[in-house]
């Protein structure tokens, strides 16, 4: 745990260094695309009120000066499968973004969606020494949370205190300075496969960048596509990506649950490819141009040229009706949504006061998806697009970029995590004294 603490603190330090330098890169490593945005921090005074952009989420303290997207290679289910391919794709995106920004970046904040995220709710209690809660007490109560067995080869990605309770008063955001006897805290911990983080770290290091932070893409896309009252009252964000579908549940502006379904838009494409006997690229084109999930009578008459390059006339002149295409796509989309429904049920989403569901991500652009999702997930479903931030090119304002934009907000204003608090003071001397004694014994 201390190792993790140190490495996360080192990343926070990197982030501070990057903020001082004023330039930081955002890397969204997805299964279908890798996006790189370059942010320049001007400080809060250089606030230029653009149309429709308010200073609500701190998104006015930075400006995007470079943006590049490239087709992702070597990433499957949101995890890096082929290191050198992924490294090349990251290099392509970073170089293009640097070229646009005309500035060199040395620090990157990355997010990815896969690696089997698991959520844990942690609770801790602490009897206050004197009745006023100090920062040390907050650190102690966080340290007092009992950590469950997260399993071999897993790493903590987020550990955020979501709620503090003082005696019988719960729902405190910041308990410091308040008076009571017993401080309790609820913490949300998200763990992922350590190997995925290692691979990403290695790829980013090979691109001569320093990692200044890492986040789950389900979390950051919820950050950017949920509006403020949804975050406050309770909502789930479904980030439908290429290789995996991320789920994050927010309440009181804190993420309390995150999960991922290892299915996404790429599976729909591969279904089309198999069903229509076409290459993946053609299937992708057909899906984006003609895809849908709700068939009408009109769709029977709309014939889609599939085309092929075989030389056989019959094969090359094949057509399918849009209804057939929808017949292929719909079961897979339903399957994904049902899986999401199962995860939400397992998380107890139906106990939340407000059950808003927001669909975002590239695969949420299938026409008619909101109708289908309303049938599966419940009535309160909407399609979400990311927040507008300054300098974002028009091409990157779609729902496919909600995790990249959310990562920008994360870079500007990260929520307090466990490692942002100091280690309780009584633990430091014991450890360092022990270490000093050991060093002394080893050397003399």
């Amino acid at each position: 745990m201390t190792d993790l603490y140190q490495s996360q603190r080192a990343m926070r330090h990197m982030r501070r260094v990057a903020m001082q330098r004023g330039v930081i890169a955002i890397l969204d490593v997805g299964s279908s695309k890798i996006a790189c945005l370059i942010l320049r921090f001007d400080g809060p005074d250089v606030l230029r009120e653009a149309e429709g952009i308010g200073p609500m989420a701190g998104q006015s303290s930075f400006r995007i000066i470079g943006a590049a997207t490239t087709r992702s290679r070597g990433v499957r289910f949101g995890e890096i499968a082929q290191m050198n391919e992924t490294e090349r794709a990251i290099r392509t995106a970073v170089q293009a973004a640097q070229k646009m920004a005309n500035v060199r970046v040395d620090h990157a904040i990355a997010c990815f969606s896969g690696a089997e995220p698991r959520s844990y709710g942690l609770a801790g209690e602490w009897d206050l020494q004197d009745s006023v809660v100090t920062e040390q007490d907050v650190a102690r109560v966080l340290a007092a949370c009992d950590v469950p067995d997260i399993g071999q080869g897993r790493e903590v990605m987020h550990a955020q205190p979501v709620n503090f309770a003082l005696d019988h008063r719960s729902g405190l955001g910041d308990p410091r300075g308040q008076i009571g006897n017993r401080l309790a805290c609820d913490m949300h911990m998200l763990t992922v496969e350590a190997a995925a983080i290692q691979n990403l770290l290695y790829c980013i290091k090979r691109c001569d960048l320093e990692l200044a932070g890492i986040a789950s893409s389900a979390y950051v896309s919820g950050f950017s596509s949920l509006v403020e009252d949804e975050q406050e009252l309770g909502a789930a964000c479904i980030d439908m990506g290429g290789g995996s579908t991320g789920i994050s549940i927010f309440i009181k502006k804190h993420m309390i649950y995150a999960d991922a379904v290892r299915m996404g838009g790429d599976h729909v494409t591969s279904d089309i490819s198999k069903g229509l006997q076409v290459p993946i690229a053609t299937a992708e084109r057909i899906k984006t141009r003609h895809g849908g999930v709700v068939a009408t009578g009109m769709d029977d008459r709309e014939m889609i040229e599939i085309g092929a390059d075989s030389g056989d006339w019959d094969k090359d002149r094949r057509t399918v009706s849009r209804t057939e295409l929808i017949g292929i796509m719909r079961p897979r989309v339903e399957e994904i949504l049902e899986e999401v429904r199962a995860r939400l049920d397992a998380a107890g989403f139906d106990h939340l006061p407000s059950q808003q569901i927001v669909l975002t991500g590239g695969a949420s652009q299938i026409p008619g998806l909101d109708g289908l999702a309303a049938r599966v997930l419940g009535q309160r479903v909407r399609l979400g697009r990311p927040l507008r931030v300054q300098g974002l090119p028009q091409a990157t304002t779609g729902p496919a970029f909600s995790s990249a934009v959310g990562l920008c907000l994360f870079a500007a204003h990260p929520q307090d995590e466990w490692w942002d608090f100091d280690i309780p003071s009584e633990r430091i001397p014991a450890r360092s004294l022990k270490r000093a004694i050991r060093w002394f014994r080893d050397n003399w």
């Binding site: 490239t70 392509t92 170089q95 640097q98």
Partner: protein
């Protein structure tokens, strides 16, 4: 049919190579960029110039080439001076100026040091100011203002002409060369020419008898008349004293009498010095023998 392309081309990889990526990042580094865009060219330029000039022979040839170009420019007819014209001087003086300047014509006007020439011309005593100008047509115009002699100064060795400021203008060999000018003598007489001129002007009623002025002890004047009569004038305000002597002369014919000197150095106690004959006569007449007559 065989495939037209023997080796199927790999799909285009948009990713930059690791080295291209690093070079791009290096190029975006501000310091490196400044070095390469400003530092390197300037260093190359300075280094190559230094390398070229480090050889003595090259430097010498470069110098001679530049000197040759300069020579060619100087020798152009537009810059040549062929004639020296001297204005405002008497023929003798203009000859002297011409000799003093010692120009070898034709010469290039770029080589003439006008300030030095002006100083040289003004070194001549008779020249008050000289003005030099190169006129169109290659004429060096020297406009000279001559000093005007107003007085003759006799020293032990020679006779000099002085102008109103006391500066020596020329020497003459005989007094008779300039009979129109008054004469002064004595050490330091040239420093008080203005006073001498004022005295001579004041002595206009006795001008016919005036021989000259003598500077005594570099501080006061003696006026010498014919018959070796002297009027000793005070150091301060000599002109009123002289006017008193002239008034006495007019009233009592003082200077026509047998007087060797009229001493007015102390205005409260003027003294007359008589000739020995006159003194004898006065004693015989039974007059008081004091020379300091107080009722003058």
């Amino acid at each position: 049919m065989q495939p037209l392309r023997s080796v199927p081309l790999a799909p285009h990889d948009p990713a930059p190579s690791r080295w291209a990526y690093r070079m791009h990042r290096l190029w975006l580094t501000p310091l490196f960029r400044a070095m390469l865009r400003v530092g390197l060219p300037s260093f190359t330029l300075i280094f190559s110039i230094g390398l070229y000039l480090s050889d003595d022979q090259r430097r010498a040839s470069l110098n001679s080439a530049s000197a040759g170009i300069w020579e060619a420019v100087q020798e152009r007819p537009e810059f040549m001076v062929n004639l020296l014209a001297i204005d405002g001087a008497s023929p003798a003086l203009s000859e002297a100026v011409r000799a003093k300047l010692a120009l070898t014509l034709p010469a290039s006007s770029l080589q003439l040091d006008m300030a030095a020439l002006k100083l040289k011309a003004e070194e001549l005593d008779a020249v008050a100011t000289a003005e030099l100008r190169v006129r169109t047509g290659g004429v060096l115009q020297v406009t000279i203002q001559e000093r005007v002699p107003v007085i003759i100064w006799r020293t032990e060795s020679e006779l000099s002409l002085l102008d109103a400021s006391g500066t020596r203008v020329a020497r003459i060999f005989e007094r008779a060369d300039r009979p129109d000018l008054p004469i002064v003598t004595g050490q330091g007489a040239n420093d008080a020419v203005a006073e001498a001129l004022a005295l001579i002007a004041a002595a206009e009623p006795i001008a016919s008898r005036l021989r000259g002025l003598v500077r005594v002890g570099e501080r006061r004047w003696d006026m010498v008349l014919d018959r070796d009569q002297r009027i000793l004038l005070p150091e301060v305000d000599p002109i009123p004293a002289l006017e008193r002597v002239i008034a006495l002369d007019k009233a009592e014919k003082l200077l026509d009498r047998d007087v060797v000197a009229v001493d007015f150095r102390n205005e409260h106690r003027p003294v007359l010095r008589l000739t020995p004959g006159a003194l004898e006569q006065m004693r015989n007449a039974g007059a008081p023998t004091e020379t300091g007559a107080s009722n003058l």
